[in-house]
């Protein structure tokens, strides 16, 4: 059975801290791994990772994939209260029309 596991389940940090969120996966077929940020409602797209070892970066956020060890990390540096959200990891297992298999998410709370 395909599985995506995120850790920690929740995290509370102070503004300015750096956080690392983890996502490990076991799928029968892998095409890509995606990170989303979910605040109040819709997940919003952050990154798509397809190749091992290539870091994707957007401002204070960065992410990298390890296809050998089957995991990805999402780093957020100099956290701000606006970073408080649930961060979702999803794997596109490549069957048919790329349906995504989501992890349960990591709830990040950044306190001033």
């Amino acid at each position: 059975e395909d599985k995506v596991v995120q850790s920690p389940l929740s995290l509370v940090v102070h503004e300015g801290d750096t956080v690392t969120l983890n996502c490990s996966y076991e799928v029968t077929n892998f095409r890509s791994l995606l990170w989303y940020k979910q605040e109040k409602k819709a997940p919003t797209f952050l990154f798509m990772l397809t190749s091992s070892g290539i870091e994707k970066k957007s401002g204070r956020l960065s992410s990298i994939l390890d296809k050998k060890e089957l995991f990805s990390i999402l780093n957020i540096t100099a956290t701000q209260t606006g970073d408080s959200a649930i961060y979702l990891c999803a794997v596109d297992s490549g069957y048919g029309a790329n349906n995504l298999f989501f992890g349960t998410g990591t709830r990040l709370t950044v306190i001033p």
Binding site: A42, G96, N98, N99, L100, F102, G105
Partner: protein, 115 residues
Amino acid sequence: EPEVTQTPSHQVTQMGQEVILRCVPISNHLYFYWYRQILGQKVEFLVSFYNNEISEKSEIFDDQFSVERPDGSNFTLKIRSTKLEDSAMYFCASSENLDYYNEQFFGPGTRLTVL
């Protein structure tokens, strides 16, 4: 910036009633999806749709569910006879699918409450 839109934002219905959730995907996108998220649980794939037919569906998507693209812009999810356990947030997503890898853009969701 183009975005996926969904209506209504919140729907309350009685058990056994039919509901139709509506989505307008991003206009040049070709693949459409429905996901649901029961409160406190993870986002789950329901169905994907391409070229006017279902591409793939999960085991959640049983005979009480159906999808349709009634015109060039709308994409709908119908639940024929709602059950209490259908209460969830339903997200529509679309993707461009120009190549092998493409990200899915999500709408704001419809919160369905079945009483």
